[in-house]
């Protein structure tokens, strides 16, 4: 399969040029040097082939051979993906550790999916069935609770001439034969798909179901719909990774693909050590069982970092095509953009803004457009939701990656350093963030909680933006100059900020809020405001309202009342009414 196609002539870091065959294709996978380092063709000019190499090129010499594979960079798809951790070009990191020890060696050629495992295959199609692309022909229990649906490859259709009987097979053993025209193709549970080519689907639908994360500020204030795309930009130390981890832990997706793209090694280790011990509240199984990790940390080769995003999204699409809801976290897309910039620089391309290549926006668009709520080729409904972290230099949101990202996402969770400095977590700034999915998901909320979520949410937002306006005045003249009605806005906003928006990921009770709890909390705080407004009008002084014991209770209810004991909220409502009425009686 791999014949020599050229000879290396020039090497500069991850970029290598070779002279050779004019029949090498763009984006073809090649192997360079005697160590057979994996690379991808990124430029052709006459007989000069330009390649980005996914491994460290130290020690390589001009004259080294280059081998072609005839295939584009592809990922392996099949049972065994879940619970895995791969590098940016889908090499299994645990096996690399067995092969080369604690440090990642070079020229490691390992199969992404373990070949020897036997999976119990249950056919759902039979010989003679006419099957279209991606048709489901059988199932495998990939974990105890997760059904992996075995599909016809997404680029083949025809008539099944044989389907294996129920039994245990490895991913390389035939499980069906497909007649395509006059040819008969052997199907296995293992498939390959080129990473840069989106997998096909039948129809794109409007996503009307929110991705529920249990994070109040996201679910209630800035929801992202399943199949949507959200961006989390923030300077360092503002909590991007913690937010991404929280979503990976709690999101109600069936599969999570987490891409650590150019980030810290210890963070990936944290996920690796934590997720097997955390239990998915929906399936009751360890979170790791629904997770695929792609780790290309900042010190791993930069070209593989560029590929990691595509590796991840292709795996996500594969599970989507089975009819699952998948959430993909990419932390951080800025590091991916920097990898583009670095390779572009070595190619001496004309830079656009801040040294980034002019095709940056195009690449970002291609990536985010692979999110979607779709009708799959096999008539299921599936979705891929993308949550991309952005790391703007100096926290400046006007830089190119943030700006271009904003064009292709509809949900913007702006992290704020001053909030994280004050230990307000998640430090998502409610005034700078937005979600364009509000109207899309409003009906779903109405159905699930039976209350007008959007109205309450908007009311709370009004109070918060009023607070921001008022605090400008307070900064100039102090709070005493404001009338009590406006000071009540400040008081309620404080409750919203400390009692609702702030959420402690370390606190057992507070880490995850059901939507029922969220809406009830919001309702109580707004009820407090409404009652407060009435008694303030009757003359009750704000300082006494501030000192009511209920204020402290409202701030602490998030960690005092577990999701299962929401009836206790009734008691809080009673307390609000009692304490307010009592105060009212004194001043009426």
């Amino acid at each position: 399969m791999s014949e020599q196609i050229g000879t290396v002539t020039w090497i500069s870091g991850p970029v290598v040029r070779a002279r050779g065959s004019r029949y090498v294709g763009m984006l073809e996978l090649v192997e360079v040097g005697e160590e057979r380092l994996v690379g991808e063709v990124i430029g052709l000019n006459g007989d000069i082939i330009t390649v980005q190499v996914y491994e460290e090129t130290s020690g390589m010499k001009p004259g080294a051979p280059m081998y072609g594979t005839g295939l584009p960079l592809s990922v392996e798809l099949g049972p065994g993906l879940l619970k895995s951790i791969f590098d940016g070009v889908q090499r299994p990191l645990p096996l690399i550790e067995i092969e080369s020890g604690s440090f990642i060696g070079r020229g490691m050629r390992l199969d992404p999916l373990y070949r020897k495992d036997r999976w119990k295959f249950t056919p759902t199609a039979k010989a003679g069935d006419v099957v279209s692309r991606s048709a489901i022909i059988g199932t495998v229990m990939e974990t105890e609770t997760f059904e992996h649906r075995i599909m016809v490859p997404a680029d083949l259709s025809g008539t099944l001439s044989w389907v294996a009987p129920s039994g245990e097979y490895t991913i390389e053993e035939p499980i069906a034969k497909l007649k395509v025209g006059n040819q008969e193709k052997i199907l296995t549970m293992l498939q390959r798909w080129p990473v840069r080519k989106p997998r096909p689907y039948l129809n794109r639908l409007r996503g009307t179901t929110p991705l529920i994360t249990g994070q109040r500020v996201l679910d209630t204030f800035f929801p992202v719909s399943k199949g949507g795309a959200a961006g989390i930009p923030g300077p360092f130390g503002s909590g991007k990774t913690v937010t991404q981890h929280s979503i990976a832990k709690w999101a109600d997706a069936q599969v999570i693909v987490y891409i650590g793209c150019g980030e810290r090694g210890n963070e990936m280790t944290e996920v690796l050590q934590e997720f097997p011990h955390l239990v998915d509240p929906r399936s009751g199984r360890p979170l790791m069982e629904r997770t695929v990790l792609i780790a290309n940390t900042s010190n791993m080769p930069v070209a593989a970092r560029e590929a990691s995003i595509y590796t991840g999204i292709t795996i996500a699409e594969y599970y989507r095509d089975m009819g699952y809801h998948v959430a993909l976290m990419a932390d951080s897309t800025s590091r991916w953009a920097e990898a583009l910039r670095e390779v572009s620089g070595r190619l001496e391309e004309m830079p656009a803004e801040e040294g980034y290549p002019a095709y940056l926006a195009g690449r970002l668009a291609e990536f985010y457009e692979r999110a979607g709520y779709v009708e799959t080729m096999n008539d299921h409904i599936g979705s891929v939701t993308i949550v991309g972290a952005v790391s703007p230099p100096g926290g400046d949101f006007s830089e190119p990656v943030t700006q271009h990202t904003k064009r292709f996402i509809r949900c913007f969770w702006a992290l704020d350093k001053s909030l994280s400095s004050a230990r307000h977590f998640p430090s998502i700034n409610w005034l700078d963030s937005y979600s364009e999915y509000l109207d899309d998901v409003a009906e779903w909320w109405q159905e699930k909680v039976g209350k007008d979520w959007l109205k309450m949410r908007n009311h709370a937002m009004e109070l918060l933006s009023e607070e921001s306006r008022l605090s400008q005045i307070v900064k100039l003249v102090g709070p005493d100059a404001l009338p009590d009605e406006e000071r009540l806005v400040l008081e309620t906003s404080r409750l919203l900020r400390e009692g609702f928006l702030q959420q402690n990921a370390m606190d057992k009770v507070d880490a995850y809020s059901t939507i029922q709890k969220q809406i009830r909390m919001l309702e109580l705080i707004l009820h407090f405001h409404e009652r407060g407004l009435r008694i303030v009008k009757h003359g009750a002084p704000i300082s006494l309202i501030h000192n009511l014991p209920i204020v402290d209770t409202l701030i602490r209810m998030k960690s005092l009342i577990p999701n299962e004991e929401l009836e206790k909220m009734e008691d809080i409502q009673k307390q609000i009414d009692e304490q307010m009425s009592q105060l009212d009686a004194e001043y009426r």
């Binding site: 090497i11 870091g13 460290e56 090129t57 130290s58 020690g59 390589m60 010499k61 001009p62 004259g63 951790i85 990191l93 550790e97 604690s102 440090f103 990642i104 060696g105 300077p235 360092f236 130390g237 650590g260 810290r264 090694g265 210890n266 990936m268 280790t269 690796l272 940390t297 900042s298 010190n299 791993m300 930069v302 590091r335 920097e338 910039r341 670095e342 620089g345 001496e348 830079p351 801040e354 040294g355 230099p393 100096g394 926290g395 400046d396 350093k417 994280s420 400095s421 004050a422 230990r423 307070v474 900064k475 100039l476 102090g478 709070p479 370390m506 000192n547 402290d552 701030i555 602490r556």
Partner: protein
């Protein structure tokens, strides 16, 4: 010039072009990328360099010691056929080396046949152990609010003229493995070592650290790699890597707990910018190359613990922020890679607070996993969040007070102001030799929090208030 097939160790006579510390060697083939070269000038003096880019007939070489005195025809270049390696051995502790790992103290070359590639290799994330053991530095603002863990990389962001060196030296002097306040002290002695790398700092600074290591009796456990301000800037690109290569050997093959101090990373980045500039690379921000992030990461990520060794590497890089600007590319990219940062504040420094640690912009990302029940004390996480929140609110109050005057503030806000002043004077401030236990740090914090009304303290639990709050409205 005829083509010469260069075997390892063979020489090419004459070079094509020399620009600053970069030269282009023509007519050499069989040269490998990242190979080390030995350069002999007309007088026969040797210096070393490294191949940055290689084509069929030409290659670009970076000269560590600079190109002064090199001529086009009189220069001989010998290709050594290997990437840059330095000897590593336990005997290197107690010694002083230059930026490339050659002895500076008049002693012999370390006796070992173990030579390690200065570039190292990335640690496989699956092979790491997540850091959980906290290091007690005896400094309240660090132990209490920005706890340092073993295997963490926690830089000090400073500015010119601030006492970052004193702080780093104090950390080195006082650092011990922390124990839970309720656990008995363990008598176990662990092997520790310090690797110190100086990049472009003044002689005084290097001497200060040396004296400080001597005073604390640690000098025999320290290996120093010095590339001082008047040493060739290009050598600076190797200095931290040489230091980390030794640190990796000591930690992962000798099982020691190694603390690495790198100072000053800003000088390192400037050297990198200089080379990039001469090579005509496309600059990104402020002229720094687009790969600055990856380059810094290749050093900072050489920190941590791995499963196959007892040892650990903890890094404290020091960098001075040009005009105290935290958004400058060097601190900015560093902050994105490291696990937090200790930021020094000019205003605190001016008001005579030592260490002038600006608490709000400081952070330890790993802290949450190294503190609390069984590690420091159960109330520590919420206690810390409360101190942060109160101090952050105090900043708002302080700026309000500067507009409307302190007397116009409400009663509660006045208490916040008092709290803020006491926080800086009594909590952050401590002497150069004061070594506080975690217990002391926590109790100072509670004493300060007790200056505030109880219902302001919403971050701590009601039980903790009952146990530790000593304010006017405490339950009796």
């Amino acid at each position: 010039m005829s083509d010469v097939i260069v075997q390892s160790g063979q020489e090419v006579v004459g070079v094509g072009r020399i620009t600053g510390p970069i030269m282009i060697v023509e007519g050499a083939s069989n040269v490998s990328y990242d190979e080390v070269v030995e350069i002999r000038d007309g007088q026969g003096n040797l210096r070393r360099g490294r191949v940055l880019e290689v084509g069929e007939k030409t290659c670009v070489v970076q000269i560590f010691a600079g190109s002064t005195g090199l001529s086009i025809d009189g220069t001989r270049v010998r290709f050594l056929g290997d990437t840059l390696r330095i000897p590593v051995a336990e005997e290197m502790l107690g010694r002083v080396f230059d930026g490339l790992g050659n002895p500076l103290d008049g002693g012999p070359q370390p006796l070992t046949d173990h030579y390690a590639d200065v570039n190292g290799q990335p640690i496989n994330p699956t092979a790491r152990i997540y850091p959980r053991d906290y290091i007690q530095t005896g400094i309240s603002a660090i132990d209490g609010l920005n706890t340092l863990l073993r295997g963490q990389k926690l830089p000090i962001f400073s500015g010119a003229g601030m006492p970052h060196d004193q702080l780093a030296a104090q950390i080195v002097r006082q650092a011990t493995l922390g124990a839970a306040t309720d656990a008995p002290a363990s008598g176990q002695v662990e092997q520790f070592a310090i690797v110190f790398a100086a990049m472009g700092v003044k002689h005084d600074v290097a001497n200060f650290f040396r004296r400080s290591f001597t005073d604390s009796g640690a000098l025999t456990r320290v290996a120093m790699f010095l590339n001082l301000a008047d040493d060739p800037p290009v050598e600076r690109l190797v200095t931290p890597r040489a230091a980390l290569t030794l640190a990796e050997y000591l930690a992962y093959e000798r099982g020691m707990h190694v603390l690495v101090i790198l100072t000053d990373m800003t000088n390192y980045c400037e050297a990198l910018r200089q080379i990039s500039n001469i090579r005509g690379e496309v600059p990104s921000r402020k002229g720094y190359p687009g790969y600055l992030y990856s380059d810094l990461a290749s050093m900072y990520e050489r920190t941590g613990r791995i499963r196959t060794s007892e040892g650990s590497i903890t890094q404290i890089p020091i960098l001075t922020m040009p005009s105290d600007d935290i958004t400058h590319p060097v601190p900015d990219l560093t902050g994105y890679i490291t696990e937090g940062q200790i930021t020094l504040g000019r205003e605190l420094d001016h008001s005579g607070i030592y260490p002038p640690i600006a608490v709000l912009p400081s952070l330890s990302r790993l802290m949450k996993d190294g503190i609390g029940q069984g590690r420091t004390r159960g109330d520590h996480p919420r206690w810390g969040a409360q101190l942060y929140a109160a101090y952050a609110h105090m900043q708002d109050v302080r700026s309000l007070a500067s507009v409307i005057g302190e007397e116009e503030l409400g009663e509660v806000d006045q208490k916040y102001l008092k709290f803020g002043r006491a926080f800086e004077k009594e909590f952050v401030n401590q002497s150069l030799t004061e070594n506080r236990t975690i217990e002391q740090t926590l109790s100072i914090g509670w004493r300060l929090l007790s200056m505030l009304p109880k219902d302001e303290l919403t971050r701590v639990s009601l039980d903790e208030l009952k146990q530790y709050y000593k304010g006017d409205d405490a339950d009796h």
